[in-house]
């Protein structure tokens, strides 16, 4: 379990709570900040952790702490939680802290009560109702794009096209496999082979 492996967690939490929270990963060996996302406190990796009290932590039943209150030098109030992460031997290795700035919520909550307006949302039109239609469109589109009829598409063409179909969800439609195979003019076996390949190497679309 390395900081790199844990990074997605920090990243994702920072995003979820942005801009009202910071996420800090402390290394308990060095007692320094190993990584930090969206720092509210202005700290950077390498800074001392100043959490010292790992001993306190080890006393408790669970490795989850908080939420408990904190205050920043500038007066902002925080809610904080901490998770102790242990290595395979059970030794504490990292401490992950999330600090949420409550000031925004507090002031908001005061103003909130008055406005209780419902929000109507537009259900989007999702997957094509008739997936064969979708299939046809995609195939036709591709063929036109290449100016080559299906039966003369190269292997890599088929790979690319199949990848698109897969991403469009056509293949997660019931009983679609044989139909798709016929559309691409390959055998069912070949389809699965191509599919395995297509899914391995995601043919990055320029998005």
């Amino acid at each position: 379990m390395t900081p790199e492996q844990l990074a997605p967690i920090g990243e994702v939490l920072a995003r979820l709570l942005s801009p009202h929270a910071e996420v800090v990963l402390h290394d308990s060996a060095t007692d320094q900040i190993a990584a930090i996302w969206n720092p509210l406190s202005g700290r950077v990796p390498g800074d001392p952790s100043l959490l010292g009290e790992l001993d306190e932590l080890t006393a408790t039943a669970t490795d989850a702490y908080g939420p408990y209150p904190k205050v920043l030098p500038d007066g902002r109030r925080l809610s904080s939680v901490s998770a102790v992460l242990r290595d395979d031997t059970g030794e504490p290795k990292y401490v992950l802290c999330v600090n949420v700035d409550r000031t925004a919520f507090e002031s908001a909550s005061r103003l909130l009560a008055a406005f209780a307006a419902p929000i109507s949302a537009q259900p989007k039109a999702f997957f094509e109702h008739d997936w064969t239609e979708k299939l046809n469109e995609l195939v036709a589109g591709y063929v036109q794009e290449r100016g080559v009829p299906v039966e003369r598409l190269s292997r890599s063409d088929r790979l690319e096209l199949l990848s698109r179909l897969d991403k469009a969800g056509v293949l997660s439609q019931r009983k679609s496999v044989p139909v798709v195979a016929r559309a691409l003019q390959v055998s069912r076996s070949a389809l699965y082979q191509l599919l395995a390949e297509a899914r391995k190497e995601p043919h990055a679309d320029p998005a």
Copy 2:
């Protein structure tokens, strides 16, 4: 990196955001829920994850996804983020998801815009191609229409709702049956019985 080692993170996040969020740890090997804290969705460990292609994930620059929108069967709207956790070899091993119930915030969307706004739908691709969304929308819509929660719908209500779901093509989506059954809160068997009935008597829409 085991679920046990990661447990404190889940615990701590659930506490921090409680009662407005659930935290789910997916095992990408089995595509099942390894652990869940404060379940809003009623899922339990061992349930299928319904995460889509992990391959898609490998394509991206970062292992952090979201926030993106979701809807629960009961109509609550969620903000979700996901973090992909890899083992030493770089293989995806777990996916940690945090789902925050936004309904409380939505009524204050203006004030809390910063919190609720960054809902740029992006990783559409990686959660199973959105028939679950459709399912949720339809169920939520129906529930709202009747003003009765799912678990108290009458038989004929369920029949009607199921008919809609069927017409919307949800049931011709692979692996959807158990999910739909759970959404309607009936057993798989009962679902098939209802379905047979629904298909016999097309509950004529006035079209």
